[in-house]
Amino acid sequence: MKKINKIILIALLVIGLLGISSYYYVMYGGARNLSNEDTAFTVTAKSISNEFAANVEISNKKYLEKAIAIKGTITKVAGNEVIIDDYVICNLKELDPSILKNQVITLKGRVVGYDDLIGELKLDQCFKAF
């Protein structure tokens, strides 16, 4: 009798733990981590801006959702927002006080899309690439 109780208790515990961990996996798992990903393209802010200006649709197919490294001169820094060559808006994953205006930099990030209202390319999850 005691043994059966123990087995049931352990089984319940295991099921409970499985439930909790799968809940956490579904709710919070599966996020992308760009630092483990290969860089799909390495470009300069100028060259990618020319590509998007020439044809948004083709460039979207090529770059959207990809992890790319982008090189250029920083024209503005405002908190998490870093602008490269007045054209590429990079949102940093974490604040980085070592990123300053007028630096020549290479940032790695995910291509979110082309904003044709202002005429800018947007990246997020960015960080300094070495």
């Binding site: 599966g30 927002e81 979110v112 899309g113 044709d116 209202l117 947007k122 997020d124």
Partner: protein, 183 residues
């Protein structure tokens, strides 16, 4: 002497033109979407990088959000939103272009006033005419614009499988807030 006057007049005109055709903009607008049903899990996403331009002289109002920049509590929900519903690789953006009826910069104040906003909205590649209310207020040299609209996913050819129909609101609430300033 005459030419001097002419030059001054021209400069004044030009300067006036520049001041009056001033465009206010932001690229840090907030757009929230909420499709939760009572008693089911929260379905909501926020985008903090929406762009918006207001032309003070013509009352033209335009806004754009990139679908992939919507953030959700759960990465899985974000994935479903992008891949199954909004198809963000095919339709990476949603936008609005329209005019504010009866807009006059001089009439703006710290207290909110409501205007009619009319224009075309494009979501999931489908464009529709909409008429809605826009709240405007002025804070220093900034103009704050907010609005709430309700959209039906099927109007924009966003299919919701029968299996989850009860969990997703029929009218999806989209709230927007833009702090516009001179660039």
């Amino acid at each position: 002497m005459k030419t001097n006057k002419l030059i001054i007049a021209t400069i004044c005109l030009l300067a006036g033109n520049i001041i009056f055709s001033q465009k206010l903009m932001t690229r840090k607008g907030e757009v929230k979407f909420e499709a939760s049903m009572a008693a089911f899990e929260e379905i909501a996403g926020t985008n903090n990088t929406a762009s918006c331009i207001l032309d003070e002289s013509t009352a033209d109002f335009a806004a754009l959000v990139l679908i992939k920049a919507f953030k959700f509590k759960s990465p899985l929900m974000e994935e479903h939103f992008n891949e199954n519903y909004m198809e963000s690789s095919k339709f990476p953006k949603a936008s609005f272009k329209g005019k504010i009826a009866g807009f006059d910069v001089k009439k703006l104040s710290v207290t909110k006033s409501t205007y009619d906003l009319e224009g075309d909205i494009t979501i999931h590649g489908v464009t529709k005419k909409i008429k809605t209310k826009l709240n405007l207020s002025q804070n220093g040299d900034k103009i704050i614009a907010t609005s709430v609209i309700f959209v039906k996913p099927q109007d924009y050819k966003i299919e919701i499988p029968n299996l989850v129909k009860d969990k997703i609101a029929e009218n999806v609430k989209i709230s927007m807030s833009f702090t516009l300033e001179a660039n």
